[in-house]
Symmetry: C2
Subunit: 344 residues, 2 copies
């Protein structure tokens, strides 16, 4: 299996994606190609031995070969025409916009390039925190109560403390906790810097949190082990940033079999008939014996490799179990009928 | 305003899009370019005087100039390099897959090409009938009860008659009414031909239906007049097909001012903060004094021109009020920090 890593993107999480990509390269020997998407939406082919963060921060990547997507793959110019890169599957590792909002998924679908990653609807449902809640509820999974704010909206009857989040952003960007009105106003203003849509939820200090990753293959669901993430009040961007470089196995959460199965059952309900083709991580809360979905990471940092005992095997397994696009051919049956009816 | 019509697509509604495009060309003199997307995902530039259905059904379009999207527009090869088509805005008129599932929207966003049409999240929410219901409910708009079926699911306690629909398809394709179990089984099988996800709703004969189109500009919402569509039990594909060629104004529904305002209010709740950039048509049911959303057409057949008294003016108005993409530049602040911390 000849995998190609796609990373970067026009996204607030551009740098996180670079860190994620470098981490993944270290631990996965099946990666043979590295495609970097810069903030001008230009694609570059990065040689494996140059995969270091300095290449990107110095903008030296611009000296590398530029490539572009076309039907069936990524192409580069040669003296006599153009050539297609020889990989079998793309691994979409662009976090945030482009990668997780469905733009790259759509581009790859359009050009018929096989890829590991969430399909377009899965992206839209997981990148908007309100839609995630509506979706989870429709699958019988609880989420915390919430309110949505657009610019100019007013908010009454707030039960502090609350947590304020830009509705369509990951990686803790623009997230803050407010314990009273002044903090709330400041936090809302800050969140609006990132998104026109802001979500407000109750904040529970020391709420139990469990992270579980997984994917589906022909033989059913494959789950990672479960981690109880160690954290301060919330991870800020810089801490989460380093989190994306993780390559050491995490510590398995000490929970009983019943809870483990319930978390897996919830994960399965979220995943099936929507996230096929992707390895995702679901972050759950557990409070008063109820499981709540906090968020879906459809492209988790460094692919949540630290939750799998044999990550390389799982990634290859997923690569061999990707959804197949429907082959749809146009017959022009109706246009022929019209011409016939018109006597033309 | 130099508009370019994009039509065709790898979709069951490919032919409908051609009919829609030819209808629109006849009544809108601002269309200067016509881009056809065939079922191989190749784009062709069609000269205005060749915009006839026979060009496509005969596959003669393949003799026309092939073009491809790139940053800032659509390009064609010249002797000395390539040239960009000189239009200001694309009008996305691809019905069904590609056009209404977010693929084309994503492609145009990626290449930074301005377009009239639903953005990606709006596509995903309106093309999946279950998501449309979840979304409408979250905005305080009622929809009919429903059940979702995937292959292998069983269905109990059905209250006939019901209507069976592929969950992610428009234009009445695969839709059937069932009055008893044999019909239901056949209808479900038929719907599964089109989609792995099927939706079942109660069917109300002679339910009142009202269609309303509109869009948002800087000065607020602009509504079409309201039509009460004349129909048999349901429109089949062929009848709906001819419906897409409509260029004559429809008859305004004879309803009182209160109902009209309620329908507009419901439309606005659906539209705002999601469908900006698109002219959409919402099809409502009205039963026991309650408004139900039936479906959202984010790219209605021939752009629902027959519901506007001055369609040309409205389309130009929308073209001048498109959402602006956020300009996001990468600073590499965090990577620089890491290098500094590492002493590199």
């Amino acid at each position: 299996m000849n995998l190609c890593l796609l990373f970067g993107g026009k996204t607030y999480e551009h740098e996180i994606s670079i860190v994620s990509a470098i981490a993944l390269k270290k631990l996965f020997s099946h990666l043979h190609f590295f495609i970097f998407l810069d903030d001008n939406h230009h694609f570059y082919l990065i040689p494996a031995n140059k995969m270091q963060s300095k290449l990107f921060s110095s903008k030296d990547y611009k000296k590398e070969k530029q490539i572009h997507p076309k039907e069936g793959g990524f192409f580069y110019k040669t003296l006599w025409g153009e050539k297609c890169l020889d990989f079998s599957v793309i691994l979409n590792l662009i976090h945030g916009f482009d990668g997780e909002d469905g733009v790259i998924a759509s581009l790859l679908e359009f050009y018929n390039i096989p890829y590991i990653g969430p399909r377009n609807p899965a992206c839209v449902l997981s990148c908007d925190k309100e839609l995630t809640k509506l979706y989870a509820k429709s699958r019988g999974i609880q989420t915390l109560d919430y309110k949505i704010l657009y610019k100019g909206d007013t908010l009454n009857g707030v039960d502090y403390p609350v947590i304020i989040k830009p509705a369509r952003l990951g990686s803790s960007l623009g997230i803050a906790i407010a314990k009273h009105q002044t903090e709330l106003e400041y936090a809302i203003e800050q969140a609006f810097e990132y998104d026109e849509k802001v979500l407000i939820e109750p904040f529970f200090k020391n709420i139990k949190e469990y992270n579980l990753a997984g994917y589906k293959a022909k033989d059913g669901m494959h789950f990672s082990f479960i981690e109880e993430p160690q954290k301060q009040e919330i991870l800020d961007f810089e801490k989460k940033y380093l989190d994306f470089a993780r390559t050491q196995n995490a510590k398995e959460a000490a929970i009983d079999e019943t809870l483990k199965q319930s978390l897996q059952e919830a994960f399965k309900k979220i995943y099936e008939n929507c996230f096929e083709g992707a390895l995702i991580r679901c972050d759950f809360f557990f409070k008063d014996s109820i499981i709540y979905l906090n968020e879906i990471n459809p492209i988790p940092g460094s692919m949540a490799n630290y939750l799998f005992y044999d990550f390389s095997k799982d990634l290859q397994n997923l690569a061999q179990n990707l959804p197949i696009q429907k082959n749809l051919k146009i017959s022009y049956e109706f246009l022929h009928k019209i011409h016939f009816a018109k006597g033309k």
